[in-house]
């Protein structure tokens, strides 16, 4: 009996003193950040989490324009040299002052061996802290998009990283665990106070943040990943979560019909496509032996013409997608409406192309798909299996969680795969350096074109904008002519929230809680 009384008293105690009225946002996505190490994985949700804690020299505002963040101003002293002035009085979450040497350390960390963002900034040849508040960055040739790239480079504390043994980025592919992959300590508006991967991550307001605290009234963010779409929607409808930036297309009307909730949609800066390995001599999963059918452009075009993206838009995406003709989206330097026009849906042409290529009866192949990364990713792949079957291609589908999918992809185990690509720099160079350059780290299509490689180089150094744009256009015309990837669609994102929660939607699907308000 005594124990029972004690228990009840404790219960009342706890429920009275738990902070009921603190503004908390419970946020859910299908997956979690893969690692807290800000340089170890160049992946959307991973950055979404890091962005709340870490900051860069520059950043993108709600409307995606580039704004100063940890630096207040910058200038180029010569075409290859940039000088940044550091913001004064910025403190890390452990109380130490941000120094120019921290910036030097962080950029070098992002540039070295196991970092996953090194391609992003590989034009940087040296970083130097000139004094306590200025940093000099030298690039190989003039780099017109350096600022766009630096947006993605988070600044860490040198002493904290060194003290905890993670002066280099976590080697993600080698299953390494480091202190920095399970802890985060930046200069940002929120600090992570609890991290249980795939279960719960708690962010709390950083009272010592240098920025304008009045722009938000969030004391606490809880990230609660829910893989299953239906469960996530149920959680939103029943009030167990406040916000999801992954609202399933089919449930938008249901959520809108609730008086307690609202949904906002926007075209996302991300394009979904299929990759085909044209590099290997024999595909691993195909019944065609001794040669690789994807090396033949006719086969690639046959696949293209077999995919009815309008049907997928109407039925699977419920109208919330934009069928694509190129693998990048409006807003990116180099995008044109002309290039983005899809070739016709024409299964007969597709059959003819296959016959011309020597596969009148088609062939067999495995399609690798993630099942918790993009909007309706698995459903799109199942639909593609049906569409390709109609022209004679027997596709075996292997749909797996993103952590396995990306690992297999990186390991070069995939013949035919789904991938989505957002472009944080809003410049074609980002697409080329990762996906189309012959040694691009995400170029698993085996696409190799000397002219394109050369153009990727000049994209980075050409400062004459007209000339540079001509370069980009030329590269795209080569790529569109070869069709190494099959564009599917540009994603449209929908953010579902409780009516009293205001989080401005951003086209890269990255919420910025420092602009969020709960009424």
């Amino acid at each position: 009996m005594k124990i029972l009384t004690k228990l009840i008293v404790t219960m009342i105690f706890v429920s009275i003193f738990s902070p009921l009225y603190a503004a908390t946002i419970k946020w859910s996505m299908p997956g979690d950040s893969l690692t807290l190490d800000p340089h170890a994985q160049n992946e959307g949700p991973t950055h979404m989490v890091s962005r709340q804690v870490y900051e860069g020299l520059v950043t993108r505002a709600i409307d995606m324009s580039i704004k100063p963040q940890l630096s207040t101003s910058w200038k180029t002293t010569d075409p290859e040299t940039w000088v940044f002035t550091l913001r004064k009085g910025v403190k890390f979450q452990d109380g130490s002052l941000l120094k120019a040497s921290d910036v030097e350390f962080s950029i070098n960390r992002a540039l070295t061996g196991t970092s996953d963002v090194k391609e992003l900034i590989n034009s940087i040849t040296s970083v130097k802290a000139l004094n306590n508040s200025t940093i000099e960055i030298k690039t190989k040739g003039p780099n017109p998009i350096l600022l766009n790239q630096l947006v993605q480079i988070f600044i860490m504390s040198e002493s904290w990283s060194k003290k905890n043994g993670c002066e280099t980025a976590q080697d993600y592919n080698a299953s390494q665990e480091t202190f920095c992959s399970i802890n985060a300590m930046g200069t940002g508006p929120f600090k992570i106070t609890l991290r249980e991967q795939n279960t719960r991550t708690v962010f709390e307001r950083n009272d010592n943040w240098w920025g304008d605290q009045s722009q938000h009234n969030i004391d606490k963010i809880e990230l609660l990943p829910i893989k299953n779409d239906a469960t996530r929607v149920a959680a939103l409808l029943s009030g167990d979560i406040d916000f999801t930036n992954f609202t399933p297309a089919q449930d938008i009307n249901r959520i809108k019909s609730s008086s307690m909730h609202k949904v906002v949609s926007a075209a996302q800066s991300r394009t979904i496509f299929f990759g085909m390995d044209q590099g290997v001599d024999e595909l691993r999963s195909s019944n065609v032996k001794g040669k690789n059918p994807f090396k033949d452009k006719k086969v690639r075009l046959a696949f293209y013409h077999a995919l009815d993206m309008n049907a997928i838009k109407e039925k699977i995406m419920r109208g919330l997608s934009e069928p694509a003709g190129m693998i990048t989206f409006p807003g990116v330097q180099g995008y044109t409406k002309q290039l983005d026009k899809r070739l016709s849906y024409d299964p007969n042409l597709s059959k003819k192309l296959l016959a011309d290529a020597g596969y009148p009866k088609g062939f067999e192949i495995t399609l690798d798909c993630p099942n918790n990364r993009y909007i309706n990713d698995e459903a799109i792949c199942v639909a593609a299996v049906g569409m390709l079957a109609k022209v004679g291609i027997k596709v075996n589908l292997d749909a797996q969680p993103k952590s396995i999918h990306f690992k297999d992809l990186k390991g070069g185990l995939s013949d035919f795969y789904m991938l989505g690509w957002g472009v944080p720099t809003f410049d074609s160079h980002y697409v080329y350096s990762f996906l189309l350059k012959s040694d691009g780290s995400w170029n698993k299509s085996g696409f190799k074109n000397e002219k394109v490689d050369e153009l990727v180089g000049t994209m980075l150094t050409e400062t004459n904008l007209d000339k540079r744009n001509a370069n980009i256009a030329e590269a795209w015309s080569i790529v569109q002519d070869n069709m190494p990837y099959l564009p599917l669609h540009h994603q449209v994102i929908s953010w579902g929230t409780k009516s009293n929660v205001n989080i401005p939607i951003r086209t890269n699907n990255e919420p910025l809680f420092r602009f969020a308000k709960v009424n």
Partner: protein, 327 residues
């Protein structure tokens, strides 16, 4: 008595050793453990080095011995997917699963015994038949269907109970509990009922059969003939004996409940070991899989050991039989 305990203990240890061997084989024969540590690009030299370091070149019995020593210390290495020590991952999630299983077991036993006794005593009643037919539904309805139904009804339509997760938890050192907050208790309701239903129907049927058998025995008939109050017979004499098998079943069922919590945890996104395990299966995350296997087997063996010991004190027949054989 001492011998009885010792025998039980040795048996339990043997079972654990066999399970341990299965788990050890998982480590060594499924996939290349080295591959999962160094990534594809590593050279053959570094691979050899790691093999040496991990002791993969030692004879199998040395490796197994090391494995057993590590396992008894809770050391299972790093998870392939989450890149964190498995022991840490499991200890983070153990409280969630155990609390869920505990509440489910209590619900299953309480209602199971109550309804079982009721249906045995009122054999032909309308209510009894209704309970029995419903209980067959319980066995035929897959757990996940029940879970989805509950979420739809109680969370979305009625909006009275949370649809996922544990709610607020209070931490006491390594243990996190949902019992001390309102949201934690509310979050427990749907998953625990879902998980308990299958076991409940099982217990209803067991208790019913046992009670019916006992009610037919001579000593009950005799008691009736002597004119002892029916309630006294049912509650005092019959029930007491009818409950003995329930103790055994409870032992077995706690193990089953832990395993079945995999499904419930998936449906309700309950952050326990089951959810961890099901992700591990999809990823072929061997360290987590084998640790989970040993964990469940250990809990199961331990509970059974306790049940056996409890039996020794409850059921005098075992004691006599033991003493008989010891002579």
């Amino acid at each position: 008595m001492f011998q009885y305990f010792l025998k039980r203990l040795l048996q339990s240890i043997l079972v654990m050793l066999i399970v341990g061997f299965v788990s050890f084989s998982l480590f060594n024969f499924v996939g290349d453990p080295v591959n999962n540590m160094v990534g594809q690009e590593a050279s053959e030299e570094t691979r050899e080095e790691i093999r040496e370091k991990l002791g993969l070149k030692d004879p199998v019995y040395t490796q197994f011995f090391k494995f057993v020593v590590n396992a008894s210390n809770g050391e299972f290495g790093l998870s392939y997917e989450l890149r964190r020590p498995v022991s840490l991952l499991i200890s983070e999630r153990l409280p969630a699963t155990l609390e869920l299983v505990l509440v489910s077991a209590l619900i299953a036993i309480f209602f199971g015994v109550f309804l079982g006794v009721y249906t045995a005593i009122n054999r032909e009643g309308l209510v009894s038949n209704f309970i029995l037919v419903t209980s067959l539904f319980g066995v035929s309805l897959p757990t996940f269907v029940i879970g989805i139904l509950f979420i739809y009804l109680f969370s979305v339509i009625l909006g009275i109970l949370p649809s996922f997760g544990r709610g607020e938890v209070v931490n006491f050192g390594f243990w996190s509990t949902g019992f001390l907050t309102l949201s934690g208790i509310k979050a427990l309701i749907l998953p625990s009922i879902t998980l308990s239903l299958f076991q409940m129907t099982y217990i209803i049927r067991l208790v019913r059969a046992e009670m019916m058998e006992i009610l037919e025995t001579d000593y009950i008939k005799f008691a009736r003939a002597r004119g002892i109050n029916k309630k006294v017979i049912n509650n005092k004499h019959a029930l007491k004996n009818g409950l003995i098998p329930v103790i055994t079943i409870t032992g077995i069922n706690v193990g089953t409940l832990i395993a079945f919590s995999i499904i419930t945890e998936t449906v309700f996104q309950w952050p326990g070991m089951g959810l961890l395990f099901i992700n591990a299966v999809q990823f072929v995350d061997i360290p987590i899989m084998s640790a989970y296997l040993i964990m469940v087997a250990f809990l199961f063996v331990m509970i059974n050991f306790i049940v056996d010991i409890a039996y020794y004190f409850i059921d005098p027949r075992i004691r006599f039989k033991e003493e008989e054989t010891n002579k």
